[in-house]
Subunit: 343 residues, 2 copies
DNA sequence: CGTGATTTGTCAATCGGTTGCCAAACGAGC
DNA sequence: GCTCGTTTGGCAACCGATTGACAAATCACG
């Protein structure tokens, strides 16, 4: 140690990032580091007077506990992960937004991981981040059930729009929205509806299809599924021909992106929406921006993000205020892309 | 815990998450833990034979080094952060996507933090995450220059679309796109262009305006700025009246979202695009989805995300392959929202 | 075979917190 | 004033890695 360092860089304890430690606080307050730790984390464990003194010192030093150092002995990282198949799917934005807010509000950090629509990549990604997070939200998992169960043994997991045996999940129940949707289409005179399915590994696509079948049966409307398709713009575009050939007067797509792709292909083919063909999406994430604007089955995506994080926190025992546990409801938002059946 | 646990949960060393440690490897391979650390991180430091033995043991145990434990002595967390003002701004999706890919490719984890368009919240957020990341990308910062400089003293920073004195930045140069844009509009007969500015704290909004002025002067076209505005749909909607009243035949909005809001308000007011009014956006992030589709100045957002992470990594000495350092170019994408001047 | 130079592996300290255990200090009650 | 019970704060081990210093082993070469 050189003497009289004027820069102040070398002052006994060398610090990496200028951040204050509990040792600094302890020194300033004239107590033991362990007392500092207790004062800050276990209210009531130390006397009010000492705690006050320590809190003041901590504030003076702008102390922020090093999360890494804290994670080491406790095993709790105060970090959560959301794993999505594809970041560019607008559906995940809402989820991420809700999750981010809930997490940061609880003092947790959120990390986003993308599996790029690949099951094996997803498993690898999860392996990588698992040691540094306390829990994981599988937002659009392409993993088989067994893999998710295996994962849940070593890490706290919540699934989104996916039901796996013993795993807590946050599901948007398509039934209410779909029921209103079919009523809406039936009222407009539609008698044959096509469903453009999503990826074969998507659990929720199956539920949407089932809800559609069920509602259609009740109303005496014919439905059939076209798919599976990639849940993207091009997926919707390339399905247009089949949908159109099917003779359906209304097409319900697995999500808004596909619905938009479909509308685009329709326009290119000279088929006008909604005069010649009614189009409906799911998630209600972009419909408002277009023209014609898109009728869609709305789900509260932000709320789903919030709730999935709340579930995670509840399981981790980090948060008492567990919100409702039932499925999230959906509702129909009618816009310009649906109209009377041409026949 | 009950005695004689047949589950094998209590086996001498109690492990928190079932993860193997270097101690397990050391035992299995019959060497010292520090030798394991060296074998795995400093190629050549131990004999080939020993390294082989250790690597095999590590593989057998499915070893993944605990990032927290590693971060403690080294101070390197292998985590990067992207801080954005508003997650729902579609412009950030592309950036995040690019950043996420570049980070995970380099073995880094990406965390997203949202400052909700508030400068003070942004500072607080950054304080919170700073200790657990190696570097930060300020994607849409609302912080004053001095604050960013202060931050850069304790953490590696890269700014996006923002120039601050000594701070590395990734900038999309509006000039090429704007120059083509003004030429395009001039060719269509437009003689007066309005610019709908973004938030007053947005550095890049100023640059876009300057580029527009410069190009307009060269072409002998009149331009004027209307703003500042919120960079959102409603920001664009509420600016319509002023834009229309101004007599401009073409409106260039700070971003696509505002352009869409403007088009919507125009439609509601019975002003048709592009016949009565030409509309242009920036970033080219949604233009393709609408109809009429939106003419926009395209920037490679994913590339910007990738590059900002590459910059960060280069500064951290984690990656040699530093990409080009010049500004990112922009180009005009002509779609349906621009047409001949009504006059 | 002996010597010096080099390679290889071990020891132990360290990062910044947390926490079980214990002793000192304190207060109450007789 | 003394004992007993309760707070309160300190000591030290520990989480799982990294790394400087050093000793042991290995090797080259005369």
């Amino acid at each position: 140690m050189t003497d009289a360092a004027p820069t102040g860089e070398i002052t006994g304890r060398r610090r990496r990032s200028g951040a204050a430690t509990i040792y600094d606080i302890a020194e300033l307050a004239g107590v033991n580091p362990s007392t500092v730790s207790r004062a800050l984390n276990q209210p009531g464990r130390v006397s009010a007077k000492t705690e006050e003194k320590i809190r003041k010192a901590a504030a003076d030093l702008n102390f922020h506990a090093n999360p890494m150092a804290r994670a080491l002995p406790t095993g709790r990282t105060h970090t959560l992960a959301v794993v999505v198949a594809d970041i560019t799917n607008p559906m995940v934005f809402g989820v991420i937004r809700g999750a981010e807010r809930a997490a940061s509000q609880a003092g947790f950090t959120l990390v986003i991981a993308e599996s790029q629509e690949s099951g094996s990549l997803e498993a690898g990604t999860i392996d990588n981040i698992a040691p540094s997070v306390d829990g994981i939200v599988l937002a659009t998992s392409r993993l088989p059930d067994e893999e998710i169960l295996r994962l849940a043994q070593r890490k706290t997991i919540v699934t989104l729009n996916r039901e796996v045996d013993g795993i807590p999940s946050v599901i948007s129940d398509p039934a209410p929205g779909v029921s209103a949707l079919v009523a809406h289409l039936a009222d407009l005179g539609h008698r044959a509806i096509a469903y453009l399915g999503g990826p074969s590994r998507s659990w929720i696509s199956g539920r949407r299809w089932e809800a559609l079948m069920h509602a259609a049966r009740e109303r005496g409307v014919a439905v059939f599924e076209i798919g599976p398709n990639s849940p993207t713009l091009t997926g919707g575009e390339s399905a247009f021909e089949r949908a159109h050939a099917s003779g359906a007067t209304a097409v319900v797509a697995y999500n808004d992106l596909m619905a938009i792709g479909l509308m685009r292909a329709a326009k290119a083919a000279g088929v006008s929406v909604p005069e010649d063909l009614s189009v409906v999406g799911f998630d209600d994430v972009l419909g408002d921006l277009l023209s014609p604007s898109l009728t869609s089955v709305h789900a509260d995506l932000t709320g789903m993000g919030t709730r999935s994080v709340a579930r995670l926190l509840a399981q981790l025992g980090a948060d008492g205020s567990h919100e409702g546990d039932g499925p999230i409801t959906t509702e129909l938002v009618i816009r310009e892309s649906t109209g009377p059946s041409p026949r």
